[in-house]
């Protein structure tokens, strides 16, 4: 689906990409990681045909620069920073739907699954939405059509845990037919989503690793956390994950998207000294993954 040969890109006097060679096939979910300036965004812009570059790029068998329209029909793109579009939500949805030949309702439906009521904000300028709402709408615009190449630049950064769970489900629906390129500064943000990791540094591939595809993107983990004492900050943090208080701030219960477990544990680690016990258990209705348990 994506073939890159000797890809070089220079911006001003600086070489950004130094001869990349990559092949990414259907069904692969790739984490594109690297520090600032590693070349991730430049690579994405080359893939989208927005940058002219040396070497060869093929998306769905074609040069994205030369056959831009045909190639981009296959591509769903979510940028890292939402563009400051002044157009209202309704107009944006209709515009994307028209140029991508998809029903506007399909985008609206995906947005609704992510928890964003596009119809309600129909007349509101996109730029006036909150960070999370913008992200949900951009994801809906990318996934609300038949795109089989998904290029997602920090897609879940602004999403709340519930929307992230739905986002993982949406990706799971495409995982067999599509190729996904998920860019992030941090591997832990996307680790559970991918089956391949490519790390860029100074314009070169420094790591290209296949990882065990053991996490079911649709799975959920039931979770119980017991604390040694009630703590307001913890209550607020765990409340944002949709957990409920079972025993006066000492016992919390909720569920976490399977692919989000690393992020959840990262949040919990900030309160490690408070945790008396922690139980994470695959919800039986989704998969039969082995049970994970940790006691503190």
């Amino acid at each position: 689906m994506i073939e890159i040969r000797r890809l070089r890109k220079r911006l001003g006097r600086r070489d950004i990409l130094l001869g990349l060679d990559l092949d990414i096939g259907r069904g692969q979910r790739v984490a594109l990681i690297g520090s600032n300036g590693a070349g991730k965004t430049t690579l994405i812009r080359c893939l989208l045909g927005e940058y002219r570059c040396d070497g060869e790029i093929r998306l769905v068998g074609r040069d994205p620069r030369q056959f831009r329209t045909e190639v981009l029909r296959h591509v769903g793109f979510v940028p890292q920073l939402p563009p400051p579009l002044k157009m209202p939500v309704g107009q944006l949805v209709n515009y994307v739907a028209s140029v991508c030949h998809t029903p506007a309702q399909r985008i609206v439906d995906v947005a609704a699954r992510l928890g964003f009521e596009a119809e309600r904000f129909r007349h509101q300028a996109f730029v006036r939405l909150s960070g999370g709402q913008k992200q949900k709408l951009l994801i809906a615009a990318a996934l609300g059509r038949d795109a089989d190449v998904l290029i997602l630049d920090e897609p879940a950064a602004n999403l709340d845990p519930e929307a992230r769970g739905t986002f993982f489900e949406l990706l799971a629906e495409r995982q067999r037919d599509a190729v996904m390129l998920i860019s992030s500064h941090r591997l832990d943000e996307v680790a559970a989503l991918v089956n391949r990791v490519i790390e860029l540094d100074q314009g070169k591939v420094v790591l290209d690793d296949r990882v065990a595809d053991s996490v079911d993107l649709t799975s959920r983990l039931h979770c119980e956390v017991r604390l040694t004492r009630p703590e307001g900050a913890f209550a607020k943090a765990v409340g944002a994950w949709g957990f409920s208080d079972v025993d006066q701030g000492l016992h919390w219960r909720g569920s976490v998207a399977g692919a989000d477990r690393l992020r959840f544990l990262g949040m919990l680690s900030r309160y490690a000294a408070l945790i008396a016990s922690l139980e994470l258990r695959e919800a039986p209705e989704t998969t039969s993954q082995p049970r994970e348990r940790a006691n503190g």
Binding site: P79, K86, V99
Partner: protein
């Protein structure tokens, strides 16, 4: 074509929401209202009175305001969108580059020309309501000149936007272009050049390639067909073009400049990095 109109329509809606468009409309509508309220139709200059007098003044004021307004608003919004990341997202959608570029130009042209034209219509309607004679010939010709001037500076504006990578550079370049063309009007540098004994052919050639000067001379044609105001340069123009020929040139030449600039801009836009 569907993509072109879709892009044009998007740009029209974007312009309608933009503050520059409100200011732009208010300025041109305001000029007409102001000219009426100041009783300009009652005064007489070179035998002109009524609506003809008002249109003459309006067109002279337009020459001063329209080019800089069109240049600055065009380069600001287009280079600003690129800088802010709007292009990164919208150009990742499957829209042909030609439809994107020419659609944006078409939408922007409508938004630039419509307020200027509506102000002219307002003048006609106001004049008709007051029982003045409507100078249709003048109205039609001046509308054509305004259309031509708008297209010319829009083309130059979009060329600057295609080249400049930041709003500051684009704005600076637009301002320098406007200032240069303004300086080479007959009133300023051309006058000095003739005084300093620069060959008259060079001065006339400069006058003929400067779209602002072409517009200015074109506007004179209807009320000063012998171009007495221009002095000896008038002989060159009238000998080569004749009155009708020059009027046609004044309509066509700025359009050609605008189209050429837009086309070069398109080639550069396609050739380089899009964002």
């Amino acid at each position: 074509m569907q993509f072109l109109w879709l892009t044009a329509w998007t740009d029209i809606l974007e312009s309608l929401r933009a503050r520059w468009f409100t200011v732009y409309t208010v300025v041109f509508g305001g000029i007409v209202v102001l000219l009426f309220t100041l009783g300009l139709t009652e005064s007489r200059v070179m035998g002109f009175t009524g609506l003809s007098r008002l249109m003459l003044t309006y067109i002279q004021l337009s020459m001063a305001i329209l080019p800089i307004f069109v240049l600055i608003t065009t380069v600001r919004s287009i280079a600003g969108d690129r800088e802010a990341g709007v292009f990164e997202y919208l150009l990742a959608l499957p829209v042909p580059l030609s439809a994107w570029y020419w659609g944006k130009l078409a939408g922007r042209f409508l938004m630039v020309f419509t307020p200027v034209f509506l102000a002219m219509l307002l003048a006609v309607a106001w004049g008709a309501a007051k029982g003045s004679d409507i100078p249709w010939r003048l109205f039609t010709y001046y509308t054509g000149l305004l259309l031509s001037l708008s297209w010319c500076f829009l083309g130059i504006g979009i060329l600057v936007s295609s080249i400049a990578r930041s709003v500051d550079v684009a704005q600076g370049a637009a301002f320098v272009i406007w200032l240069t063309l303004l300086l080479f009007l007959d009133l300023i540098l051309l006058g000095i050049m003739i005084q300093q004994h620069v060959p008259p052919e060079a001065a006339v050639a400069l006058a003929l390639i400067n779209p602002m000067q072409v517009f200015r001379t074109g506007t004179m044609m209807l009320f000063d067909p012998q171009l007495v105001i221009l002095g000896p340069a008038a002989y060159v123009i009238l000998d080569h073009f004749g009155t009708i020929g020059y009027m046609a040139f004044a309509l066509v030449y700025p359009c050609v400049v605008g189209t050429l600039a837009a086309w070069i801009g398109y080639r550069l836009f396609r050739r380089g990095d899009l964002i």
